[in-house]
């Protein structure tokens, strides 16, 4: 089912009653989640992503704006009438019920002629359990299961009513690293098998990048960028998005543009035709550095970490926003680097942002049409 958010805004009164201003948890959200896609709401804590999820589920009413599921306006519908499945961050499995009873719980709430018989309930619960591959654990209580298994029971419980929308709140945050990798693949598989429109909330950009069809990057209640993971990574609209996506993170230098040339710490490093003169923040992805003897960006090297295929160079530079920067170069290029290195910058891995607003400043890439890969 397609989800449409129109001018969706959620404001809370301030907890401190003396302060009259309101807390804006979500401000003027406008986006469409196409049918059958897996979408990640990504952002740091407090960015309003969980609020957005609660607005979609109906647990919280919006202050302004409307929500559509398909063509139906569901803004004023209570959660149970929206046909959503929600998986909570802590799973919220009922501890006194077995896995099977937990999965059957939503079905037992159905009243009237739609109410399935006991056998049908059981059948559907087992079917949902099979989908998440926990059909051998049906008689266990939540505390007798691992975090990953509990997670699956929670997903099965959310899916058993065959909702049009599946919502997952930080589905992986309570799992250990190994399970996290495994479970995110699971979520992807389940989503593909059921074809259900899925929205999940995460603060982990790797998680969001790896399994979603599109990511919505949020900060302070506002959407900053929406797009396919690779697009958002390659073409960030502002410094926040650039910084938030990518591990290792992007390196940010203070720089200046003069007559179409980018200067860092007084040295000309790159031709940036089309960029207006002025102070800028220069973002360079770790893979955007090329060590060459006549590179224009000289940096002292802290250490060189060999990671097999690639080599990671930790360097210093006084124009860097952080203490140290990190470049990832191929092993051949890194040969002979020990104390100092001179880098050339790849134009399509280098981004200019306004030093004041953090907004992206675009420039033409010489000899390569556009800066996009």
């Amino acid at each position: 089912m397609k989800i449409v958010l129109e001018h969706l805004t959620k404001r809370y009164p301030n907890r401190n009653r003396k302060i009259k201003t309101e807390v804006i948890a979500a401000s003027d959200l406008n986006f469409v989640i196409p049918d059958g896609q897996l979408i990640a709401l990504l952002g740091p804590s407090g960015c309003g992503k969980s609020t957005t999820l609660n607005l979609i589920s109906g647990l919280e009413p919006p202050t302004e704006g409307r929500i559509f599921f398909g063509d139906d306006d569901v803004t004023s519908l209570p959660p149970e009438k929206r046909g959503v499945g929600l998986v909570f961050q802590n799973y919220a499995l009922y501890p006194h019920l077995t896995a099977l009873q937990n999965i059957m719980f939503p079905l037992q709430n159905i009243k009237g002629k739609d109410r399935p018989t006991k056998e049908q309930m059981r059948e559907r619960a087992v079917e949902a359990a099979k989908l998440v591959q926990i059909d051998h654990l049906l008689e266990r209580r939540p505390k007798e299961m691992s975090g990953g298994q509990q997670q699956r029971v929670a997903i099965a419980r959310a899916l058993v009513k065959r909702p049009g929308v599946l919502l997952l709140d930080e589905p992986l945050s309570n799992l250990d690293a190994r399970l996290r990798l495994q479970t995110r693949e699971e979520i992807r598989r389940i989503q593909r098998e059921t074809g259900i429109t899925t929205v999940f909330v995460t603060h982990d950009q790797e998680e969001a990048m790896s399994i979603s069809d599109a990511i919505v990057v949020m900060k302070e209640g506002a959407v900053h960028q929406i797009g396919k993971p690779q697009e958002v990574y390659d073409d960030p609209v502002n410094l926040f998005v650039a910084k938030f996506l990518g591990t290792p993170p992007i390196n940010v230098f203070a720089g200046e543009v003069k007559n179409g040339v980018l200067y860092i710490d007084g040295g000309a490093v790159l031709n940036v035709p089309g960029a207006p003169d002025g102070k800028v923040s220069v973002g360079v992805r770790p893979e955007g550095f090329v060590p060459t003897p006549n590179g224009s960006l000289p940096c002292p090297v802290d250490r060189v970490e060999v990671m097999g295929r690639d080599t990671s160079i930790v360097f210093r530079h006084k124009a860097l926003e952080t203490d140290a920067g990190r470049a990832i170069v191929s092993a051949e290029d890194a040969v002979g680097i020990s104390d100092a290195v001179r880098f050339a910058l790849k134009p399509h891995k280098t981004y200019l942002f306004s030093a004041d607003t953090g907004e992206r400043i675009r420039f033409e890439i010489e000899g390569g049409g556009h800066e996009k890969e």
């Binding site: 589920s57 109906g58 647990l59 209570p78 959660p79 149970e80 009438k81 959503v84 499945g85 929600l86 909570f88 961050q89 802590n90 919220a92 009922y94 501890p95 006194h96 019920l97 719980f105 939503p106 709430n109 159905i110 209580r141 419980r157 009513k161």
Partner: protein
């Protein structure tokens, strides 16, 4: 290691000595007293060993009256007070404005002195030469006839006793239950809401099981507390409870020791052991049911 142990015992010594003298020794002594026949407290002598004390106590009409009173009190006040406390806690948990005020109001009886409460109940229920008592005035206002609640018929006295007990024990239960209701993770309720669970089903299938450990705790301590009732009866009906026909088992034990008809530690010990047996049995039954129902 050995030295550390010694140190630990040294630290524990005051507590152990105190508990030993005032708790453990009397515990064994009660059993000994209970089986010494014809014990004379003046000469500290007895005729023989046997079960006569139990037989005497069990044939004493005052004791049987006390057992009856106590059982009625237990059977009525424990479910009523726990049920009411649950209702009040649910109410307290669902209101927002003035929540703190109501919580304080409901907790006040807990910090109020038993005898002070007894005095208030006197004003409410006692008929004197000058006043019929507030409750009787109310009954009169609705066209009923005055009832002597304090010196009148048995059912009236029992009613006052039960109301008094419920009123006294409720605040603690309300406190515990409001706490445990508030500690149920809101996500469970959100999950239930998403699944369209009705209010009643949410209560019976989620809330009740979630707070059941606390509920069981309250029921068990409630049973034990009600079996030990004594001061409440004194506050309402004065020290001569046998005459009022409102004695409790603990009251009977006390009277056998220190009352006007007192001076019989053997009978008192026998009665105390019988009370122990009853409380023990009921607690075991309680714990068994709890285990079966626990998740």
């Amino acid at each position: 290691m050995k030295k550390n142990n010694l140190k630990a015992w040294l630290y524990l010594l005051p507590a152990i000595a105190f508990l030993g003298v005032f708790m453990v020794y009397p515990l064994f002594d009660v059993v000994i007293y209970a089986f010494e026949e014809g014990y004379n407290s003046a000469s500290q002598s007895f005729f023989g060993v046997g079960g006569y004390n139990f037989s005497y106590v069990l044939h004493d009409p005052y004791f049987l009256q006390a057992v009856k009173n106590t059982l009625i009190l237990v059977i009525i006040t424990v479910p009523v007070s726990t049920g009411l406390a649950l209702l009040i806690s649910l109410g307290l948990n669902s209101i927002k404005p003035l929540k703190e005020l109501y919580q304080t109001v409901f907790f006040l009886p807990y910090v109020t002195n038993t005898l002070a409460v007894g005095l208030v109940f006197m004003i409410l229920f006692k008929k004197t030469a000058y006043s019929e008592g507030l409750v009787n005035l109310l009954i009169n206002a609705f066209g009923g006839k005055s009832v002597d609640f304090i010196d009148g018929p048995y059912w009236a006295k029992m009613l006052v006793m039960c109301i008094y007990t419920v009123w006294i024990v409720m605040p603690f239960k309300v406190l515990i239950l409001t706490g445990s209701l508030a500690s149920v993770n809101q996500d469970y309720y959100n999950a239930a809401k998403i699944d369209g669970t009705s209010k009643l089903r949410t209560f019976t299938r989620i809330t009740l099981p979630m707070i059941s450990p606390m509920l069981f705790y309250l029921i068990i301590t409630g049973f034990i507390g009600a079996f030990k009732a004594y001061s409440d009866a004194v506050a309402l009906f004065g020290v001569d409870l046998n005459a009022a026909g409102m004695n409790t088992i603990v009251g009977y034990v006390y009277d056998m020791l220190y009352g006007n008809s007192g001076g019989y530690p053997s009978y008192a010990s026998a009665a105390a052991l019988i009370l122990f047996a009853i409380v023990f049995t009921i607690t075991v039954v309680n714990l068994r049911t709890r285990k079966r129902l626990q998740f």
